[in-house]
Amino acid sequence: MNDATDLAHIRQKVLRESKQDGIIEIWAGMFFMYYAVFFDNIAREIATEPAMVVFFIMICSYPLLYFTLIRNIFTYPRMGYVNINEKFPLAPILAFVVPVTTLPAITFVAVHWMRELVDIYLMLKWMSVLFGLAFGGLYFGLARGFALPAYYILATLAAVSGVVLSMIPQELPGVTVFLVLQSLLLLLYGSLSLFRFIRKYPRPKRASAGVKGNSDGR
């Protein structure tokens, strides 16, 4: 009874349960792998191909597909539907979106128009610190806002790896290695979440789905 009366605990549980299909983390992993390739292209002084722009547009539109279609077809029939009216942690999201979108733009401008003035490799090396702090802040904000304990670990790993990679001499730019690490972590976390989700919530059979084929059993 104590557990049931703790409404804050129930809300945290519902927030956590609603975010466990892992699909957004898998998407984020692919998204940051794209960024890693982008920065690697910049470092190798390869012009950004039109295909990269097309891919960027496609990968940015995926969340829309997820929230409008994939969740309704895949997630909700298994887990059930819930509308939480959650408060998105706006500050950490903005603190992440601003550097992650402006830094590639600044890099692009620097490479194409300021090559004589700017040491591109040095810029990319230290960019991992900024990305590390941005990622760390975002993960921390999501961990607190959506009650996702694993994100505290991701926050710590992001901040520490961002700093460490800027100091270790290596062939690839620090930001590229950082983004590859982040994408692999997110792909792993997302895949594990998806696997656990599918095992925990098998798709209900039509016969037991309720009267006249209602997907929610009532």
Binding site: A4, L7, R11, K13, V14, G80, N83, Y201, K212, R218
Partner: protein, 112 residues
């Protein structure tokens, strides 16, 4: 200014809402109180109640006017939206307040 709570006598056991007092229905309302809306499947997964049990309790809560149940279609898939009504939210808050007062006023073990 006098605190309004001091004007009202503490709640008694007789004032406990028996519709909400049933543990399964209390749990259902607890979940509904923290969400905007949900469906049958989500409630069943979260509360651990069986389909028949949950359906029976939802019917009682709906008959009391504490919840609203509406069927809709999303991408041609039927979905049942369950949400706490205004009356239900108020009744739930009153129930929680009354329970706290009743428990606070229970004599301590070994006294009296």
């Amino acid at each position: 200014m006098v605190d309004k709570r001091q004007e009202r006598a503490p709640a008694t056991i007789a004032e406990i809402d028996r519709t909400i007092h049933e543990p399964a229905r209390f749990l259902i309302l607890a979940y509904l109180s923290v969400v905007e809306s949900t469906d049958f499947l989500f409630l069943m997964n979260q509360t651990g109640l069986t389909k028949g049990n949950l359906s029976s309790h939802l019917s009682k809560l709906e008959a009391s006017g504490y919840i609203s149940i509406k069927k809709a279609f999303v991408l041609k898939i039927p979905r049942t939206h369950i949400r706490l009504s205004t009356k239900g939210r108020k009744a739930f808050d009153v129930y929680r307040r009354n329970m706290r007062e009743v428990l606070d006023n229970l004599p301590l073990e070994g006294s009296g």
